[in-house]
C-alpha cells in the first residue's frame, strides 16, 4: 500500500513531478559540471603554467661564478665546471618522475661564424657569436630501459622557430632572428661555425645548414643554436653540459612547504618529501645528479603558486555558489510541492494515518524524486562539463564516481531539508478544516 501510494503520486500527476524533477536535475547538473571542472582544472592550469618555462635550474656545484648578463655568460670558454650528460636519464627515476614535464641541458660557448659560400677566409670575416648547444626532440635513455623524449621546445615554449628545429646528428642549426637579419641568413643557407682553439694555428670550421630562424625575445636571438652533441664537438668538451633547465609540475607552496626540511620531524619530512613541492623535487633531483646545485627559479615558481592558489579558491567558490543556488532552488521547489498537497494530507489523516506515516510517505516520495532528478542532473552535468572543458582547455574531464555520489547525497539532503519544515507542518494539520477547503 505504501509503495502504491508513492507510485500513484508519480503516475497521477506526472507534469507536476516532472517540473520538480526538472528543477532538481538542473540544479544538480550545474553542481556536477562545476564540481567536475573544479576537480580537474587545477591540474590543467598547473600544466598551462609550464608555458612560463622551467622552474628549476641545475648548475655544477663546484662552478666558478657565472658572469651572466642578459642571458650571455662572459666567462672564458675553459673556465668553470661541467656536468656529465650521461646521468640525465636519472631525472626520470626520482620519486616525482611523472611531474618532470621536460628538461633540457645547455652548453654555451663563444664562437665564430662564417657565411657558407666563403672558401678562402681571413680572421676579419669572422663574426663573434654565442653558440648554444641543446636538445630538440631528443630521446633520453632512462635507466629503467625506456626512453623519454624532451627538448628545449618543451622547457621554453615561448621560443618560436620559423622553419623547423634541427635534427640531431644532421649538422643542422637554428639561427637567432637578430643574427639572421644582421648577416642576411635564410632557411636553407649554409654557415660555418667554430669555437676558437688557441692551441691551434689553423682554425677548423664545420659546416651547418640553417633549418630555422629562432625568436625568443632575449639574447638567444643573437646566437646560433645547434644540437648538444654538435656544441660539444665544436667546443671540444665531449659529453658535458653546463646548465640544465627542468620544468616540473608542482603543488603551490604553503606554510608547511616553507619550513626548513632540516628542522622537520621524520614524519613531517616524509610528508614533505612525498608532496610535489618544488623544493622537494629540487632535493630529489640533487640526490640523483651528484655534484649539482638545484635552484628554484623563484619568479616562475612563485608567480605560478600565487595565481594558481587564488584561482583554485575562486573556482571552489564558484562551485560552492552553484551548489548553494541549486540547493535553494531545489529546496524551494520541494517546499512548494509539499505545501500544495495539503488536501491529500488532510484526507490521509482523516482516513487514519498518523503524522509519522504521512511524513515518511512524503519523504520517501521526495527521496525518490531526488535520486531520479540527481541522476539525470549528473548525466546532463557531465555533458556540460565536457563541453566546458573542451571549449576552454581542450580536454574532457573524466566522469568520476565520487562526483556522482556527492551529487546524489546532496540531492537527497537538499530535498529533505527543503521539505522538512513544510512536512513538519503538514504532519500537524488538522484534517477537518483542510477538507472543508478552508
Amino acid at each position: 500500500m505504501f509503495l502504491r501510494l508513492v507510485a500513484d503520486s508519480f503516475t497521477r500527476r506526472p507534469r507536476r513531478k516532472i517540473l520538480s524533477m526538472a528543477a532538481l536535475a538542473m540544479g544538480m547538473a550545474v553542481a556536477t559540471a562545476a564540481l567536475s571542472v573544479s576537480l580537474d582544472v587545477g591540474d590543467r592550469l598547473a600544466e598551462e603554467f609550464r608555458s612560463l618555462g622551467a622552474n628549476l635550474l641545475v648548475t655544477p656545484q663546484a662552478d666558478s661564478l657565472p658572469l651572466e648578463i642578459g642571458g650571455v655568460d662572459y666567462r672564458p670558454a675553459n673556465a668553470g665546471a661541467y656536468l656529465p650528460e650521461a646521468n640525465l636519464g636519472k631525472l626520470k627515476t626520482i620519486f616525482w618522475r611523472f611531474n618532470i614535464m621536460a628538461f633540457a641541458p645547455i652548453l654555451q660557448s663563444p664562437g665564430q661564424l662564417l657565411p657558407g659560400n666563403v672558401t678562402d677566409h681571413k680572421p676579419s670575416d669572422y663574426t663573434d657569436i654565442q653558440i648554444l648547444g641543446t636538445w630538440s626532440n631528443h630521446s633520453v635513455p632512462v635507466p629503467d630501459g625506456t626512453t623519454y623524449v624532451t627538448g628545449i621546445e618543451k622547457t621554453n615554449p615561448w621560443w618560436t622557430v620559423d622553419g623547423r628545429w634541427f635534427h640531431e646528428g644532421q649538422t643542422e642549426c637554428v639561427v637567432g632572428s637578430l643574427l639572421a637579419k644582421r648577416k642576411g641568413l635564410h632557411i636553407g643557407d649554409k654557415i660555418l661555425l667554430n669555437v676558437p682553439d688557441p692551441s691551434k694555428m689553423v682554425q677548423l670550421f664545420l659546416p651547418y645548414m640553417v633549418t630555422g630562424i629562432l625568436s625568443t625575445g632575449s639574447s638567444e636571438e643573437d646566437a646560433v643554436v645547434v644540437s648538444l652533441a654538435d656544441a660539444q664537438k665544436l667546443a671540444r668538451l665531449p659529453q658535458v653540459y653546463r646548465r640544465l633547465y627542468v620544468s616540473a609540475l608542482t603543488k603551490p607552496e604553503d606554510a608547511f612547504a616553507r619550513k626548513d626540511p632540516k628542522t622537520m620531524t621524520p614524519a613531517e619530512f616524509d610528508k614533505w618529501y612525498c608532496t610535489p613541492y618544488i623544493s622537494a623535487i629540487a632535493l630529489q633531483i640533487s640526490e640523483e645528479l651528484k655534484g649539482t646545485d638545484v635552484r628554484v627559479i623563484r619568479r616562475v615558481a612563485e608567480g605560478e603558486g600565487n595565481v594558481l592558489s587564488r584561482v583554485r579558491t575562486l573556482l571552489w567558490l564558484v562551485t560552492f555558489a552553484a551548489l548553494l543556488a541549486a540547493a535553494l532552488a531545489v529546496g524551494a521547489s520541494a517546499a512548494a510541492s509539499v505545501i500544495e498537497r495539503r488536501t491529500e494530507i488532510g484526507l490521509m489523516k482523516a482516513l487514519g494515518a498518523n503524522s509519522g506515516l504521512v511524513g515518511v510517505l512524503l519523504a520517501a516520495e521526495q527521496l525518490l524524486l531526488a535520486f531520479v532528478g540527481g541522476g539525470i542532473g549528473y548525466a546532463v552535468g557531465i555533458l556540460l562539463a565536457r563541453a566546458l572543458g573542451e571549449r576552454i582547455f581542450g580536454f574532457t574531464p573524466e566522469p568520476k564516481l565520487f562526483v556522482l555520489l556527492v551529487i546524489l547525497a546532496l540531492a537527497a539532503l537538499i530535498t529533505l531539508i527543503g521539505s522538512a519544515y513544510p512536512l513538519l507542518r503538514a504532519s500537524r494539520y488538522d484534517p477537518a478544516p483542510i477538507l472543508r477547503g478552508e
Binding site: 538542473m26 552553484a322 532552488a329 524551494a332
Partner: protein, 386 residues
C-alpha cells in the same frame, strides 16, 4: 488597460494570501539575484586582480639600447635620464621601474687579496623587489639606505663566503670601491650570482657616469593593455628599444585568457542555470494557481486580464527579490573578494541594476507557464478534476 482599484486589490490578495508560498518564491528569486550579483561582481574583480597577481613574475617590459651587440660585456648604454621620463602610473597601478648598469668587475671579501670576477649590477629606481622577485635573507634594514651598501646574490655570497654585515671590495680596471652587504637575495636566476650596488658605485667602477645598461619595468594590466603600454613608451623613447619579455608576456596572455575564460564560462553557466532553477521552482507554484484562474474565469475575467494580473504579480515579486537579493549578493562578494584575494572586492554599481533586471526577467519568464491556463475550463477545475 487601466489598472482599476480592484486590480490592485486582487494583486494584494494574491501576494498576501499565502505567506508560506510568498516566502518560498521570494527566497528562490532572492537567492538567484544574490548569486547573480555576487558572481558578476567577483568575476569583474577577479580579472583585474589576476593581472596584479601576475606581477609576482617580475619585470615584463625592458627598455634597452637600440643596438645590442653581445660582443662586448660593457657594450652600449642608455642615458640615466630616461628613468625620469617613465610614467610612474599606468591604469591606476604604479609602475615599478629600475635602471641597471652591469659591470664585470673583480670582487673579494674585505681583507682578502684573492679577487674573483663577478657581475656587479648598479641599480636605481623604485620597486626593485617587484622587478626582481625572490627572497631576501639576512636582511639588515638599517643598512639599506646607506649609499655604500649592497646586496649579494645567494650564489655570490656563497662563493665569496660573506654574509649580511660583511664588507666587499669591488674593483674594475684600477677603479675601486667598497660596499657593505645588507641582504642576501635568492631568485634562482642569474641574479643569484650578481652583486647589487647603488647605481653611482657601478658607474664609477665602469667609468660610465650617467649611463645605464637597461631599464626593467613591471607593468600591471591585461596582455592587451601591456602591449599598448609598450608601444606608447616606444614612441616616447625613440632612442631606446622597448619590448616585452616574451617569456612572461606570452605565457601571461595565455594563462590570463584561460582563467578568464573559465571564470566567464562557469559564471555564465551558474547564472543560466540559477535562473532556470528559479523558473522551475516558480512554475511549480504557478500550476497551483489553477483554482484562482478557474474562479476568475467563472466570474467573467478575460484571459488577457488574468495573465496581466499574474505578470504584474511576477514583476512585483521580481523587483522585491531582485532588490534585496542583489544587495545581499554585492555585500557577499566584498567578503568573498577578501577570502580569495586578500583584498575586499570593490562593489561595482553597474552590477546591481543588471542583476535586478535579470531577476525581474527571470520572474516574468517563470510566469509564462500561466499561458497554459488559458485553456482551463472553470467547471472541471471546480469539480476537482485536473
Amino acid at each position: 488597460m487601466a489598472a482599476s482599484p480592484m486590480f490592485w486589490r486582487i494583486i494584494r490578495r494574491l501576494l498576501t494570501a499565502n505567506y508560506g508560498r510568498l516566502f518560498v518564491i521570494l527566497l528562490a528569486l532572492g537567492a538567484g539575484a544574490a548569486v547573480t550579483s555576487a558572481l558578476l561582481n567577483l568575476q569583474i574583480d577577479a580579472k583585474k586582480r589576476l593581472t596584479t597577481e601576475f606581477r609576482a613574475l617580475g619585470a615584463n617590459v625592458i627598455v634597452a639600447p637600440r643596438t645590442t651587440t653581445t660582443d662586448e660585456a660593457n657594450g652600449s648604454t642608455l642615458d640615466e635620464s630616461l628613468l625620469s621620463q617613465l610614467p610612474s602610473q599606468y591604469e591606476a597601478h604604479s609602475v615599478p621601474a629600475v635602471g641597471f648598469l652591469y659591470v664585470i668587475g673583480e670582487i673579494a671579501k674585505a681583507g682578502e687579496i684573492h679577487f674573483e670576477p663577478a657581475v656587479i649590477a648598479g641599480t636605481q629606481g623604485h620597486g626593485l623587489a617587484e622587478i626582481r622577485p625572490g627572497r631576501r635573507t639576512q636582511y639588515l634594514a638599517n643598512l639599506e639606505s646607506d649609499p655604500a651598501s649592497c646586496e649579494a646574490g645567494a650564489k655570490a655570497a656563497e662563493q665569496f663566503k660573506v654574509q649580511a654585515g660583511d664588507v666587499l671590495q669591488l674593483r674594475n680596471q684600477g677603479r675601486e670601491a667598497n660596499c657593505k652587504i645588507f641582504a642576501v637575495v635568492q631568485t634562482g636566476g642569474p641574479e643569484d650570482t650578481q652583486i647589487f650596488t647603488n647605481l653611482k658605485t657601478a658607474q664609477t667602477l665602469a667609468n660610465l657616469p650617467g649611463r645605464i645598461s637597461l631599464i626593467q619595468l613591471s607593468v600591471t594590466g591585461t596582455p592587451a593593455s601591456v602591449t599598448s603600454f609598450v608601444s606608447a613608451l616606444a614612441q616616447r623613447l625613440p632612442e631606446a628599444d622597448v619590448h616585452g619579455i616574451k617569456q612572461f608576456t606570452e605565457a601571461e596572455g595565455r594563462i590570463y585568457d584561460r582563467i578568464s575564460g573559465i571564470l566567464s564560462a562557469t559564471v555564465l553557466l551558474v547564472l543560466f542555470l540559477t535562473s532556470l532553477c528559479v523558473m522551475a521552482g516558480m512554475s511549480n507554484v504557478a500550476v497551483e494557481r489553477k483554482n484562482d484562474v478557474g474562479l476568475m474565469k467563472a466570474i467573467g475575467g478575460s484571459i488577457e486580464k488574468v495573465v496581466h494580473l499574474f505578470l504584474t504579480e511576477a514583476i512585483l515579486l521580481g523587483i522585491a527579490g531582485g532588490v534585496v537579493g542583489s544587495a545581499i549578493g554585492l555585500l557577499v562578494s566584498i567578503w568573498l573578494g577578501k577570502a580569495v584575494f586578500g583584498v575586499a572586492a570593490q562593489p561595482r554599481l553597474i552590477v546591481y541594476p543588471i542583476s535586478v533586471v535579470l531577476t525581474i526577467i527571470t520572474s516574468i519568464a517563470s510566469a509564462f507557464p500561466l499561458r497554459r491556463l488559458a485553456s482551463i475550463r472553470p467547471a472541471s477545475v471546480f469539480r476537482g478534476e485536473e
